[in-house]
Structures are given as structure tokens and as C-alpha cells.
Amino acid sequence: MHTKLSRRSFLQMTGVAGIGLAAGCSSGPSSGTATWSMWSSSAAEKKVWADFGKYVEQQLKVKSIATLTPSPGYPTKLDLQLVSGTASLVTALNGTLIPTYAARGAHRPLDDLIAADPDFHLDDFYETSRKISSFNGRTYAIGFDVAPTVMYYNKDLLKKQGVPLPSRTEPMSWATFRDLAKQLTKPGEQYGFTCAPAIDDLVSWIYCAGGNVMSADAGRSTLGDPEAMQALQFVIDLFVKDQVTPPIKNLVTENSLSNFLQGNVAFMQNGPWQVVNARKATFDWDIIPFPAGAAGSTPRVSGSSFAIPSGVREGPQLDLAWKLLKTLTSTGALDIYAKAGRNNPARLSAGSAFQPPPDNLGIVRDILAGKLAGGHAFDVTTNWNQVKQLLGQDLPRTFLGQVTVADAIHGLTPRLDVLMRQHLDTVRQATARKG
């Protein structure tokens, strides 16, 4: 049956549809809903967060709504949500961004909530996770994962070459590592080592050499100090001089995991967060402690956390946010996370759930507990994005042999120092606000 639509009816329907659409766009989740934001870039990750959602609904008896965003766009989307007042009650934060968000007042300190809650025990979280989640003496987030960088190795490749497997507990020296990488390299066919040509991977070597990106008070860049320079030169030499790494084809798509998964690379520097992806390898592999430099084996320890935005109102909304945050970081939730092999959970009581393979996965917990080798919390500033961007300009060129390490650092240091001074100003302002 055909119904003739008059112009007036059409306009009325359009108007009603428009109002409905506008209402749909403007209304957020109803109050009493446990909303949380997380980055998620794969089906495996989505499955984990779906299970988290079910767990939240079981525990809190409220509806759980997770906003999942692919990781590269997550910070921008979160910013827009925070500014527009549409952010979730709880938001996931990468540890390197916690000082940035805290200093800008985007998230609230949690100390009052922790102190008022006898059921919550912060000391069940690894110390490095607590450090990563704090800024200026306050706790701004609660960790859900934390882990040191380790060295993955292709067991099959080493066995095939007749090379004895490295110790599972004793970190090898840099000299030994370099010799081994050279020994295992057959140019064009097989390579000794792979890592990302970026500061995120260089810091582990810098920490192991006893250096850092910034001074203890974060007031100046220390990349030009001898320890940091030695570390930078060592890694760059592996690329440029020794040529024990797969050739860099494109700085954007260069990916150490995909290099390693090809099966022709002996060692890969990476975190246990890649275990879930490394399990796709068609060869036998395992992990060992990071090679020890002058300061020992003290690679970077990274982590991620959940935080509550400043816009969450006091009262029932904040109560629900705190309950949700506790649930998302509870042993039960982190067991789901760990069993999926996503990463090492930030809680000591959830640690046993991160199960092999790889066989030697236990070293992750031993390193965090201080029983084996060591780790160094990833030191960042309140303007870490800017520091990272600046370092991302000229450091990759050293991996390509386009500039020397000395020239790159010499050129970057004055601008890094400006950023460090800006960071100190931000910290001073935050301290003044704190009173």
C-alpha cells in the first residue's frame, strides 16, 4: 500500500527525527551505569575487556559500558571526552601519561578515597606500579599491569646454530650480547637483534648503563652524560656499525615484534605485554633478563592504570567510580587479564595468573619483586609527549646512520633543557595548588 507523504508530514517527521538524533547524541549513559574507557586494538583485547565488563556487572550489580578505542587515537579521544564532560567514570591511562594528566588537573587524586576505604590495600600493588601511578606525592591512578622490559630469544634459531642457550636467571653482559648478536647474524638472511628505533626502547639500555633521560630533579637533560651516551652508542652501533639488526625499511612501520616473528632474528627487546602476540610464533622461544650494563640489568618498568576524571561529581557518582575502579583492578579482574596473557598484572596477589608459555615467564614477577636482576620505573615528565616528539625527530636518524649520536644529542639538548624547565615550572605550579 502506498501512502502519500505530504510536505508538512515530511517536515514534521524530519523534525522529530532530528530531535531524537540530537537527544541521542547529547545524552550519555544513565546515572548508575559503570562506564569506563580503555584502548583496544585487537579482537583478543576486546575479548578481555568484554570479560572485564561481565565481571563488573557480576560484582557491582550494575550495567557496565566500556568505551573501547584503538590505542593510537585513545589519548586524543580521552582528551575530547574529558573536556566535553562526556568521559567515563573511570579511564585507563598509560603510565607515561599519568603525570601529564595529573599536572593538568584532568584526573583527581585518589588518596582520600584510599584512606577512607579499609577494604582497599594499596600495598598489594608492586612498588613500581605505585610509583608509575603517582605524581607529586599523590596517587592519581591504580595499576592494572606492570612489567620490566625483557629479552625474547628464538630458541630454535640458537639451537640450530649450535649456540648454548643463555642463562634464565643471570643477565649476560653487553659485550657478550653483542658478540652473540654478531655471531648469529648472516647479512640478508638472519639477524642477531631487533628493537624499535625510538627512545622507548633506548631507555632500558640507558638505565642499565647508569644514565637517564633527565637529571634526578628532572631539571635538565642528561642524554649527553657519558653513561647515556655510552648506551646510545652501543645500540646505534648494533644497527649501523655491526649491522646485526634487520635493515630499517620505514621508520613508521618498523616493528620489532614482526621482525622477530619472521623467525630469522635471534633476540628481541620487548615487554611481556607482547607475550600474547609472540605466542603466534611458529618457533620455540623464551625470555631472559635484559643484558646487564655498568649499572646491572635495570631495564625500564612500564605499566598502565585506571584513574577517575576530575569531572566526576562527589556523592553517588564518585562512590560508583571508586567501586568500579576497585573492581577493575581487583585480583579477580586482573586474573582474567593475566590468564589471557595480556601482561603481568599490577597486583602481587594476581601475579600467579600470568601463565606460561614462555617457560621462563616467572622472571617477570621475580624482577618486580627484586629477587632477580632489577628494573627502573620509566621516568617521565609532565610534558613527556613533547620530550618524546623531540627525541623522535633526530634519534631515529642515528639508527639510519644519517647523523652521529654526538651530533644528534648536541642538537637536541638545548631544546630538551627548555622542556625540562617547563616541566619543573608545571610541577611547582601543581605543588602550589596542592598547598
Partner: protein
Amino acid sequence: MWRRREALTAWLFILPSLIGFLIFTAGPVVAAGAISLLNWNLFSAPTWAGLHNFARLGPDPTFWAALGNTAYFTLVSVPLTILVSLVLALLLNQGLQRIAVFRSLLLLPYATITVAVAFVWIWLYIPHDGLVNAVLGWFGIDGPSWLISDTWAMPALILMSVWKSFGFGMVVFLAGLQAIPQQLYEAGRVDGTSPWNSFRHITLPMLSPALFFVIVTSVIGSFQVFDQALIMTNGGPGTRTTTLVMYIYRTGFENYDQGYAAAQSLVLFAFIVLITTTQFLFQRRLVHYDN
């Protein structure tokens, strides 16, 4: 009375565009002007900065590098794109067999999203195994490491960009060519005009409005280049392919420095206005309209 009704009708037709312009173009420009005078990280209350954000542009090497790169990109990619578009439009206009098929095929790069095209070109540019260097190898040329080379990263982006965008110009030129009255060519032939002179004295002048339109839109588009550079080189190596829009995005949304990003945006806006105005000044002398 009739004139008033006609004017009202005209305004009603213009109104949707005008509202869109005011909300999405004029409004943001005015807002950027206001924000450029503030220190604002999106969350803390903004503080007055005066002209400080503009003063920061002078000693900022990345800003100048980005501006230089954008100018380089525009100066090379726009003439190349126009040349390729024009040549292909002329070929299609010469009655190339299966013209609709060719037209569709040639328009495909323009119709494809930049992200997809960029990923394909990353693969084409792989130093040893990529198709570009393989083809160069047939002629005994050892191709460079395109996307990580100081010298070749920007030309590589330009090449990809020309391939991506020539379709638009080609369609506009083809429409322009098909609107040229055939009598003009016939008169030329009667006078014994050579094909080259026919092109110079009939085709080019008659095509000049289309040419002007493509130049203006291409220059504006080139000054706003962002996505392909972000995906293919992330602005590197060093700052060799960092474009102005990429730098503005990073300043505003990664470094949370809204005031400085707004100041950069206004400078970009001023450049585009200046260049477009200059083009319109030349239009009077160089563009031929029927009337």
C-alpha cells in the same frame, strides 16, 4: 515587491551554506584568534598570553622546518599534479577508446581513501623489494631508501600525492575541454593553425577558468597536507616531512598547547588567504571568460 521576494528566495537558498560557513569556518577562525592569545592546556583555566604565542614562532626551528616543507610540497606537487591532470584530460578528450573505462580507472586513486593509498605506497617504496625500486632496477638504477632518506622522503610523498590527486584535476579539465566550442578549432584549421598553436591560443585560454579553479583548490589542499605524511613518514626522517598541519595537530592535541597551536593555525590561515588573494589578482589578467 517582486524584487524583494526574489531577494528573499536567494537568501533562503544561501542560508544553509551561510550558517555552515559561520559555524564551521568563520567561528573557528575567530575562536582560534581568541585562543591564540591564551595559555591553555584544555583543562586548567586559560591564562592571558597576549602575543607571546606568536613570538614563540620565531625561535621555533620545527615550525620553520614545517613551513618550509609545506611550501616545498606545494611548489612541487601542485604544478606536477596539474601537468599530469591536463595531459591525461587532453588524451581522454582525443577520443581514447573506451573513454568511460579509462576515466573511471584514472579517477580511482582520487576516490580511494588516503590511508589505504598511503599503506600501498609504503609497500611500493620498500627499499629493496618494493615495486618502485624494482622498476628502477630494470633500467640499472639503484633506487634509494625512499621513506627514510633525507633527500628522497619528501619527493616520495609528492609522487604519491600526485598519483592520489590528479583524478580531480583531470575530471575538471575534461569537463572544461568538452565545453570548448568546436567551431574555434575548425576556424583555426581553416587558417592553417598548427596543433601546438591551437593548444596555446584556443585550448589554454578557453580552459583557463578550469585551470584557475584547479590551481586555487590544489594550493589550498597542499597547504593542508597531513594524512599521507603522518602515515607514511610520521614527519621524518628528522623533520624532513613534518608539515604545518601535522605540527599544529601535535602542538594542540599531543602537547596540549592550544594557544600555540591556534597561533600556528592563524599563520597558516594568513598564508592561504595571502596566496589565494594573489591568485585572484592574477586571475583578472590570465583567466579568460566567455563574457
